[in-house]
């Protein structure tokens, strides 16, 4: 009986497992294999030659290859950390505002917030590159009205990456607000009523009811926000080309430059493997932290 059950389960799972194997696991294993090869992206896999850990030594070495890779890894980490640090609190704040039943225009606000997520990145990048323009950009003109001098935004290595982060936050916050609202709907209203009877003010209700009960939603949002941020490519390719002085050169853009433009497939694969490992470590750490909190 159990054997028949196992056989039928295996048959039913086979199509999905096969598809996952072909389209997800195989490319990942291929990338790992290529990371140990010297291979030009434009030639067949058979032309790849095994070079052991040389690609990894190169990307962590002292030459320009190593400096560019570690710079891109650092930029990606900063971009991701800033994006998540801004998106999560903002999404909860907007979620709370929109979720209030007694606030007029809540639905309209929800639509406006989500609409930024639906705008294609090409349009967002074009508009924001003009907003940030140092000479004729509206942002600098508005700053001028309150007596603040022109800011370089994308033209300075100090502010270029942060400027790209703001663009990302503006586009993504609506989506995460919708997730936050979904989390808020899961909290029973009776808890707030009980808290009110006990004399809890709004802040205490938020601190001791809303936030703890939204932990799972926030964990999910954080994981998605991290994955989205790590994959940033379009604004860098369209606006800054990784500059100035490599200050916006994030890993996906750098891998594209190395692996496709320069056709250095082995080096590009080694960089992709490191990006994948970093992402796995961060997401696992996040889940471990959340599990520990749950156990406490």
């Amino acid at each position: 009986m159990i054997q028949r059950y196992r056989a039928s389960a295996g048959i039913m799972l086979a199509p999905a497992v096969t598809l996952i194997g072909i389209f997800i696991l195989l490319p990942m294993l291929l990338t790992v294999w290529l990371s140990f090869q010297d291979w030009s992206t434009q030639t067949s896999f058979s032309s790849a030659s095994f070079i052991g850990l040389d690609n990894f030594r190169e990307i962590f070495g002292p030459t320009s290859v190593g400096r560019d890779f570690t710079g891109a890894l650092t930029n990606t980490a900063i971009y991701t950390a800033l994006s998540v640090a801004l998106i999560l609190p903002l999404s909860v704040a907007f979620g709370l505002m929109v979720y209030q039943h007694d606030v007029a225009g809540g639905t309209a606000l929800r639509t406006v917030l989500f609409s930024t997520y639906m705008v294609p990145m090409i349009a967002v990048a074009l508009v924001w590159s003009k907003l940030y323009s140092p000479s004729e950009g509206p942002l600098n003109q508005m700053l001028g009205l309150i007596g603040v001098g022109p800011q370089p935004f994308l033209s300075s290595p100090r502010s270029a990456l942060i400027s790209i982060v703001f663009l990302n936050v503006w586009q993504q916050v609506g989506y995460f607000t919708v997730l936050a609202i979904a989390g808020l709907t899961q909290i029973p209203g009776s808890l707030y009523e009980a808290a009110k009877l006990d004399g809890a003010n709004r802040f205490e209700q938020f601190r001791f009811i809303t936030l703890p009960l939204m932990r799972r939603t926030l964990l999910f949002s954080a994981v998605i926000a991290i994955i989205n941020a790590v994959q940033v490519f379009e604004p860098v390719a369209l606006i800054t080309q990784g500059g100035p002085v490599g200050s916006t050169n994030v890993l996906t853009y750098h891998i594209h430059r190395v692996g496709i433009e320069r056709a250095q497939g082995g080096l590009g694969s080694a960089m992709a493997v490191m990006l994948m490992l970093s992402l796995i470590v961060v997401v696992c750490a996040l889940f471990a932290l959340a599990n520990r909190k749950d156990q406490e």
Binding site: S129, S133, S135, S155, P244, H256, R257
Partner: protein
């Protein structure tokens, strides 16, 4: 006649006309470029002219931004469905040829090109003696300056030496008006490296000699120092120098709006200046690159573009592509003895490289803006076309930008540039 007989006769007739219809089948070829829509329209018009005598060949033109051109060629050129013809920068050729993405020119095209183009341009379109592309444009760098700003600052003539250059840059700088003397460029490899290289060769130096980088020379050290001096004195402001993926952006905006006194740029940006400046374009003049204390006379960096054919396209498509390119670059396809390609290039202010085209466009090349470029062509030094050239260029860009933003000193920039270039070119040569 029964239905069965009618069917058999129809089938037989179908087989009979099959070879004829096979011959009449049209060949579709595509042309990938980074040109603007206006220029693409001119190329499409030329393709229509070609179709009048070659009705079986249809040419479609596809344009992508300059920043995406190499990626598109690399990602789509590996298959038969990729672009049949691509316009490429000579620096990309050695690696595209190594990876067998581009086809060698047929003998007829190769002998025509070798006889009708200057030897230096032919060599930039060749790898190991084999011609891979039909050269079209040649670009050279010169000093562009704003005559109105020069007049305001009391400067009578464009600077001829680096001392005069630094002095003019200082006089043209007006911090309160947001005006810089000399405009550098950043966030675009060629935009950063070519002006630097033009100053370097005008100081008697070179980027690469016999396949090895020579950025550790005294002349290169002086060029890095010139950049540091211009930045430290405030005569050049890096925040005004940014370029975007379309090779436009603040560096161009600042020059066309009269906030930059001088810039070193190539001839092809004449059309961008005209569009941005309108009537004020007459304020712009061209002069040779100022000469450094270690240099003998003004030199410039030159580079060329060519059209190549996808080595993975079908035989019929490749044959049609070479035939179209031979026609497009032939003196009979354009006006007054010029090739159709040169007419398209001249609409953008780009110098054609075919000898007969330069003669045919003598009048326009004598304009105030372009004559300054034509005059420096003879002493121009080609940008080194070596394996790893693109990576070398991007690496040097990073170092020069770090110098622009004060992250490294001129001395450190020189040492880093030489070390990086050595490692990149050695690895690429393996």
């Amino acid at each position: 006649m029964s239905f069965a007989w009618t069917s058999k006769l129809a089938l037989a007739a179908g087989f009979a006309i099959l070879p004829a219809s096979g011959w009449a089948q049209s060949v579709n070829i595509s042309y990938l470029t980074h040109w603007s829509p206006e220029t693409v329209a001119l190329l499409e018009a030329a393709a229509k002219d070609y179709a009048k005598t070659n009705p079986d060949v249809s040419v479609t033109v596809r344009a992508v931004p300059f920043g995406d051109l190499l990626t598109t060629l690399r990602s789509q050129g590996g298959g038969a469905d990729g672009p049949t013809i691509g316009g490429i920068y000579d620096l990309w050729l050695p690696e595209l040829a190594r990876d067998k993405l581009v086809a060698p020119a047929p003998d007829a095209v190769a002998s025509e090109v070798k006889g009708a183009w200057p030897a230096g341009v032919v060599s930039a379109a060749s790898v190991e003696g084999k011609l891979y592309g039909v050269p079209n444009e040649i670009d050279v760098y010169a000093l562009n300056y704003n005559k109105a700003l020069f007049k305001q600052a009391g400067i009578a003539a464009p600077p001829k030496t680096w001392d005069e250059f630094k002095d003019a840059a200082r006089k043209l700088t007006n911090k309160n008006a947001g005006q810089q003397g000399f405009g550098m460029i950043n966030s675009w490899a060629a935009g950063v490296v070519h002006p630097f290289a033009s100053l370097l060769v005008s100081n008697g130096g070179e980027l690469v000699k016999d396949g090895k980088p020579v950025l550790d020379s005294k002349q290169a050290g002086e060029t890095f120092q010139l950049y540091e001096d211009l930045i430290k004195s405030g005569a050049s402001v890096p925040a005004m120098a940014t370029a975007d993926a379309n090779t436009t952006g603040p560096f161009l905006d600042n020059f066309v709006s009269g906030k930059t006194g001088m810039i070193i740029m190539a001839n092809w940006w004449e059309s961008a200046l005209k569009t941005g400046m309108g009537d004020k374009f007459t304020d712009i003049a061209t002069a040779p690159i100022p000469v450094g204390s270690s240099g003998d006379k003004p030199h410039s960096i030159s580079y060329s573009w060519m059209t190549v054919v996808n080595a993975n396209a079908g035989q019929a498509e490749q044959k049609a592509a070479w035939d179209f390119l031979a026609w497009l670059n032939n003196p009979k396809s354009g006006k007054n003895g010029a090739s159709a390609m040169s007419d398209i290039l001249m609409s953008m202010g780009i110098l054609p490289s075919r000898t007969s085209d330069i003669d045919a466009h003598k009048d326009k090349l004598g304009s105030e803006f372009l004559s300054g470029y034509v005059s420096v062509l003879a002493d121009a030094k080609p940008f080194p076309v070596v394996p790893g050239g693109q990576e070398f260029s991007e690496s040097l860009q990073q170092t020069i930008e770090a110098l622009q933003y004060g992250q490294v000193s001129a001395k450190d920039a020189q040492a880093t540039a030489q070390a990086d270039a050595t490692s990149i070119l050695e690895r690429a040569a393996k």
